[in-house]
Symmetry: C2
Subunit: 313 residues, 2 copies
DNA sequence: GTGATCCCATAGGCGACGCCTATCGCTGCT
DNA sequence: AGCAGCGATAGGCGTCGCCTATGGGATCAC
């Protein structure tokens, strides 16, 4: 059975005439006759009664007719749907982001994306870098804004485009003495100062503890665990100091103390499955993301990383 | 777009593997790859992401998938349905019959037919010969039990197989003197006897009036018009005599008076559209009808007409 | 009744397309 | 480094669908 045969059946049924149907279908009449016959042979049943007064459907033909109509309409609809997807008039893009980024750029970028491509549904997954990277690999996400480092086991499967380098700063709340002097401190200034650490899984936690250990002491822990929001709240009410990304610190309105060179920093970038590449919708997402990053002025604590267009891992 | 391509898409989507899908489909892997690619080119969109960790559907592929599934299932269902129709496990046969026949053989034959082919729905149309013949020609009926003569304009388009010749007899009711003597009369015996005539359209009416006129007198009309049932009822209560088919007369329990040779008679037979022929179901109907006619013993007033298998008109 | 016309079926040639085998390119594993 | 797995590519081959030309049956007009 063949789709052209179904089309032929439809046309013959509607014109009740082989010759006219052939003309409408832009084929020679013998071709039409042959195809109909072939289908009839395959089905083991006549579909039409060829009579002088016009061609009529047999019972079998009448049974086949609505199915043929529906099938052809279905496929036409599917074609149209695929068209819409490729033209980004419909679809979906599954974006991942770490919590700090979801509350930052991602919110604005997704809003702009939704405005630019109203037919495309953006699905946001908020999680840690390693989890998001794994979900990229599994094909559950199309693209994700992540923070280096990636899990080494996945770095081969994931393409990563670094976008922004952001300083990590020490934040303190009201009624707390900021470490160091004139808004600048060294890691040694954190000695014996109580620190608020986010839970395991946040790269910030490793950054903070590493900083202390490299300076030769164990961090004194005020509160251990919790999400970033909790850390901010704890710092705000004076529970201790914390190491935060500069942007998040500024957004939270906390007192910022920069660390002396080499200032710790984190690299934010876009990641996707290397072998799948970026879907059309994801490419658009990336474009809008880059616009937003480039149009935001670089500050003293964030640095745009120029993309050499060779997407490194 | 092609049905095999849809099948291929389905299999690849399910196995997530070109090579294995090709094996399941009993084609070489390059053929499969080629067909998928060809479909992708036609649609202008990739359907699969070819990656090392297994093939994944793109959004377009995911949109096409359910349609492909449904289309293939639909066509499978249609194939099965056509099968059932050709095997007479489903379907319809549209049978026409004149009123007298519908109350006679047709009722029994249709019962037997429904029992033999429970999946086939018999549709009965009860009307006069000329109307039924016209509906045969239009393709509204598959087969009909008619009474000669057919409308001459249709005799070319309608095939007619004569089956039974039935005598027409004079019937009288209670309290009426039957015409003639010893159950036999001549047309002349009807002179001045009030007659009940069915309405125009019944061939019986022409038979009756023709009989009188050939004998040299105009029929004296007791009641004119009405269906056959009304005629029978009128005769039964003594309104007059009537000319009826022998079987109907016997069924009605009326007093029967046969006419002397040449006794008027009518020919009953099966008719169908000559160019369309008999559908499978109609052939079965005919077979059961013939069984019934042959197994009913020929009486003195009905005569089976042997079919020389050359179906004359 | 004879030619004209209509309509579907058949015959034969031709080009396209799908399937095949063989092979390549790439990746991941041992 | 060599091998195995997997999909893409290349080239040959057979089939199949489409074409033109023609057949055959029926209807219609004169």
């Amino acid at each position: 059975m063949q789709l052209t045969q179904l089309r032929y059946v439809l046309e013959v049924a509607e014109t009740r005439h082989f010759t006219r149907a052939a003309r409408n279908l832009h084929v020679a009449q013998p071709s039409l006759s042959q195809q109909i016959r072939s289908l009839e042979r395959e089905l083991g049943a006549a579909l039409f009664v060829r009579a002088r007064g016009g061609v009529t459907l047999t019972e079998a033909g009448a049974a086949l007719l609505p199915v043929a109509r529906r099938v052809l309409a279905d496929l036409d609809g599917a074609r149209r749907e695929v068209q819409e997807i490729t033209q980004l008039r419909r679809g979906r893009v599954r974006v991942g982001g770490t919590p700090s980024l979801c509350q930052g750029v991602l919110a604005e970028v997704l809003r702009a994306f939704a405005q630019r491509w109203p037919g495309i549904e953006p699905c946001l997954a908020e999680s840690g870098t390693s989890d998001l990277a794994e979900r990229l690999r599994l094909g559950e996400l199309d693209v994700a804004l992540l923070i280096l480092p990636l899990p080494s086991a996945l770095s081969a499967a994931i393409a990563f485009e670094p976008l922004v380098r952001e300083e990590l700063v020490i934040v303190s709340g009201t009624g707390q003495l900021p470490p160091g002097e004139r808004g600048v401190c060294t890691p040694a200034d954190l000695h014996e100062r109580p620190l608020v650490l986010p839970r395991h899984g946040y790269a910030l936690r490793e950054h903070a503890t590493g900083l202390c250990r490299q300076a030769g002491f164990e961090p004194k822990i005020a509160v251990d665990g919790g999400e970033l929001d909790a850390v901010i709240a704890l710092v705000r009410c004076g529970a201790g100091l914390a190491l935060l990304p500069a942007i998040a610190a500024r957004r939270a309105g906390l007192t910022i103390t920069r660390l002396t060179e080499p200032a710790p920093q984190r690299t934010i970038g876009l990641a996707w499955r290397r072998d799948a590449g970026l879907s059309r919708a994801a490419q658009e997402f990336r474009a809008i993301l880059l616009e937003h990053i480039d149009q935001a002025p670089a500050t003293d604590v964030t640095h745009r990383i120029a993309a050499p267009d060779g997407h490194s891992s």
